[in-house]
């Protein structure tokens, strides 16, 4: 991984609850507020953010967990427009069957009222991933925190 100053926000999921590492909570709220604004169906502050965590990130994490063999990481970048979900695959090659699953994930989220765009990005060097989203302030829903583009190994 390339060393850089990007800092993602890492979500944890324990006992069915989606939590944020304590030191990341403030940044999470800022990022989530922006994301919530991008979701026309789920607007307004605290309640929306709680909903956001439990009803969007919860199912998203579960989906990644169910597809763990093919998912290296999942990110929701800070956004000014529509909410975007980037699913980083475990393979450097575009996985067609997995692409079907990602499209169905978007359909499933839409059925629950979450108007998001989900996209598969094959694994690759940071510079490839950085072409598609800015990891600064992005919420990492799933995966090893070190898998974020630009994260230093701990």
């Amino acid at each position: 991984m390339i060393t850089a100053n990007h800092s993602v926000i890492v979500l944890n999921r324990t006992s069915g609850q989606v939590t944020v590492e304590p030191e990341d909570e403030d940044r999470f709220v800022i990022s989530a507020q922006e994301a919530v604004k991008a979701c026309q169906d789920h607007q307004k502050a605290d309640h929306a953010i709680r909903t956001f965590k439990q009803e969007l990130f919860g199912p998203l994490w579960e989906w990644c967990f169910l597809h763990a063999a093919r998912v290296k990481a999942c990110f929701v970048p800070r956004t000014v427009g529509r909410l975007e979900v980037y699913v980083i695959g475990t393979s450097e090659q575009y996985d067609f069957a997995f692409g079907d699953d990602v499209a169905r994930l978007e359909l499933s989220l839409a059925d629950r009222g979450w108007n998001v765009s989900a996209m598969q990005l094959p694994d690759g060097p940071d510079e490839d991933l950085l072409s598609y989203f800015n990891p600064e302030g992005a919420i990492q829903v799933y995966g090893d925190p070190e898998s974020a583009p630009g994260q230093s190994p701990r």
């Binding site: 529509r82 450097e92 090659q93 575009y94 067609f96 692409g99 079907d100 990602v102 499209a103 169905r104 978007e106 359909l107 839409a110 108007n115 765009s117 996209m119 598969q120 094959p122 690759g124 060097p125 510079e127 490839d128 072409s131 598609y132």
Partner: protein, 125 residues
């Protein structure tokens, strides 16, 4: 805004172009042309209702909501064309095998969308 028949002509021309080139030799451009063929097919349908897409994302939403049967194929084409346009050549060709451009992209995803749209739209004048 283009009319339904104008979108149809564009789609037909793009599709014919895919047969004129060696798609596997320039898989990045072939997938972009395949995607824009699909774009015009969708716009053909949409123009039939006197509507037009505002951008790629809004078109994807239209397909997802109104033409769910081809959403998976259309999203594949969108994603792959995005990667073709923004990846470095090295990254794109590492991620995709040239051999699948015709069998998967053109004869698979695009053909599915074309067949679906043909079933919805009236024959060309």
């Amino acid at each position: 805004m283009a009319t339904q028949s104008q979108h149809r002509v564009k789609a037909r021309g793009n599709r014919a172009f895919l047969d004129e080139i060696d798609a596997s030799a320039r898989a990045d451009w072939a997938v972009v042309v395949a995607f824009y063929t699909a774009v015009h097919l969708i716009e053909d349908v949409r123009a039939g209702g006197s509507r037009h897409s505002l951008n790629h994302r809004e078109r994807l939403d239209f397909v997802r909501v109104h033409h769910r049967a081809i959403f998976v194929q259309f999203q594949h084409l969108y994603t792959r064309s995005l990667l073709a346009r923004y990846d470095s050549n090295a990254a794109f060709y590492r991620r995709f095998a040239n051999a699948d451009i015709r069998s998967v992209v053109i004869d698979g995803w695009l053909a599915a969308i074309k067949g679906y749209v043909a079933g919805l739209t009236s024959p060309a004048p």
